[in-house]
């Protein structure tokens, strides 16, 4: 359904994408992860026809998306990272406009608008001007506008940024349902728990390269070993067995909770500079950390400040 090969993009001297390969089969959700500036949005923009690639190929439902972007757009749906709605028009008009652009008319159009509004809890708001919606409602409308024409390949670029829990759950549910209907979904996010909730195939983009790709369980099993992570004010002190990077010292351990008590006693003078102790469980967060050396924006690890207080006391 989606086949990206050797995609390369350079802005000025900076190589944003380096021979990126990515595939998504019908019904598959690919969670595209990576730190800010990794090239996620550039990748999505190129396949959606918004930017030109310097090299590589991108095929969408058998269509060469780089050579014939206008044809590829017939089967693509895109919810860009930044909110994109017409605030001066009603929710219904926002949805109907993109359905009409895809060629829908009459009953089919009305039915589709009703369905997508229903799926994202917008039915009661159809007559409201988009400007009057809350942040979460706007985010749902933004996502609905990408779904209304029932695309075969759907790109959602950080669709839940700034969304409340309810909105986030509704969007995730709609994404699952689209995938069940056979749509290939590329879902970029900083929220790793969402990727876990979606049971997505994971692709990690770092420095313009895909550095890991595979089913979530395999990636977690391979990279997501448990760890104890200590964060200090200033540089972390050298500690036996720990990997030190800046203010963070990380110990890979099968039982990090047990290791924590012993380690704290060995901190001596550095204990005063200790700011947090985190136990990193086998998870996508841990795998992501191992792969990129960075924490994601989500707080998937367990904060155990209460335990620290007890231990220090």
């Amino acid at each position: 359904m989606l086949e990206i090969r050797g995609l390369t993009k350079t802005y000025a001297e900076h190589e944003v994408l380096r021979r990126v390969d990515l595939q998504a089969a019908p019904g598959e959700i690919v969670g595209l992860l990576g730190p800010n500036g990794a090239g996620k949005t550039t990748l999505v923009s190129i396949v959606a026809g918004l930017r030109r690639a310097d090299a590589g190929t991108a095929t969408v439902d058998g269509i060469d998306a780089l050579a014939h972007p206008e044809r590829a757009r017939e089967v693509l749906g895109l919810a860009p990272q930044d909110l994109g709605i017409y605030p001066v028009l009603s929710v219904e008009r926002n949805l109907a406009f993109f359905a009409e652009l895809s060629g829908m008319t009459g009953k089919a159009l009305r039915s589709r608008v009703t369905d997508v509004a229903d799926a994202l809890d917008l039915t009661k708001l159809l007559g409201h001007k988009a400007a009057t919606l809350s942040g979460g409602q706007k985010r749902r409308l933004h996502t609905a506008m990408a779904l209304v024409h029932e695309p075969k390949v759907l790109f959602l670029d950080e669709p839940t940024v700034g969304a409340d829990v309810r909105t986030r759950n509704q969007i995730l549910e709609v994404v699952r349902r689209r995938a069940e209907a056979g749509c290939a979904v590329v879902y970029t996010s900083h929220y790793l728990t969402e990727i876990e909730d979606l049971a997505a195939t994971v692709a990690v983009l770092e420095g313009g390269r895909i550095i890991a790709r595979g089913p979530l369980a395999e990636l977690v099993a391979e990279y997501g070993s448990p760890a104890l992570r200590l964060t200090f004010e200033g540089s972390a002190p050298p500690l036996d067995g720990f990997e030190v990077a800046g203010s963070v010292a990380t110990l890979r351990s099968a039982d990090p909770a047990r290791a924590a008590a012993g380690i704290l006693a060995r901190l001596n003078g550095s204990a005063e500079r200790l700011r947090s102790v985190d136990i990193v469980r086998p998870s996508l967060e841990a795998a992501y950390l191992a792969l990129t050396g960075r924490r994601s924006n989500t707080d998937a690890t367990d904060q155990i400040e209460e335990v620290i207080d007890e231990l220090v006391a």
Binding site: L50, R73, L78, V88, L89
Partner: protein, 257 residues
């Protein structure tokens, strides 16, 4: 080019224009107010030229209509800039609509609006200010169309070259004053300073007003509009060529600065 998609885009842009009609109403009412102030001056000037029964509206109505039509150039530019401000520009580009369809969808509703603005102002000129059209009424229509054509192309040129909405409005206001002032919208070109008279033919407003004068005041037929309309369309062609050269759908435009 898909016409049903183009119609969808035009209807959408018409709805966006009508969602906030205040600027359109102001740009239609303001010239009527100005006509009342300038009608007497126009009458005195025209009687001095030997048009004994002129009401003065023959100068004031086309002059103010053209000046405020130039101010209306901001409509089209704003239609593009607001898409960037709302974050819908990339959505549009990622839809099935082609660049040509998107651009036409933006331009045509605004062009219709400009034509409507001119028609209303000339209608008010005839009904309320006693403006007589002594020559070809069809010629008035031809000059209106030429005027809208050059304004559409001018707006596309500005949209292509400026980066922010504030820059757009500043340039539109300045250009509207300078081009229409030097073109004879406030006073006939004959009474402008010598240097301004020499520069006047470089303004499309000069040719538009020359065409209107030929059919409104000088009893000209449709053929009297050929040269002024052709000159106006030549300006439109040059502006369109520069706009096409400079316009890029990937340019980032800033709505709020």
């Amino acid at each position: 080019m898909n016409w049903s998609r183009s119609r969808v885009l035009m209807r959408q842009n018409w709805a966006l224009l009508m969602a906030d009609p205040a600027p359109i109403v102001i740009l239609t009412l303001m010239p009527i107010v100005m006509m009342t102030f300038l009608e007497g001056t126009g009458r005195a000037l025209l009687r001095g030229e030997g048009y004994a029964d002129a009401s003065g509206a023959e100068l004031a109505v086309p002059g103010m209509a053209i000046m405020f039509a130039f101010f209306g150039v901001g409509f089209i530019g704003t239609a593009f800039f607001s898409e960037h401000g709302w974050g819908t520009w990339d959505r549009l580009r990622a839809s099935r609509a082609t660049t040509m369809e998107i651009v036409l969808g933006k331009i045509l509703p605004s062009a219709v609006l400009m034509l409507g603005q001119l028609a209303v102002l000339f209608g008010v000129g005839v009904v309320a200010f006693g403006m007589r059209i002594d020559g070809s009424v069809a010629g008035v229509g031809v000059m209106m169309l030429a005027c809208v054509a050059v304004l559409v192309c001018f707006s596309m040129l500005l949209t292509a070259v400026v980066r922010t909405a504030n820059q757009l409005m500043a340039v539109v206001n300045l250009a509207a004053m300078v081009l229409t002032g030097i073109g004879g919208a406030l006073t006939p070109v004959d009474v402008l300073p010598t240097w301004a008279q020499a520069l006047a033919p470089l303004s499309p407003a000069y040719w538009i007003l020359k065409g209107f004068r030929a059919v409104i005041l000088e009893r000209g037929g449709l053929d009297a509009t050929i040269v002024p309309a052709a000159a106006t369309l030549a300006f439109a062609g040059i502006m369109a060529a520069i706009a096409v050269w400079r316009f890029s759908v990937t340019d980032e435009k800033v709505w709020d600065t």
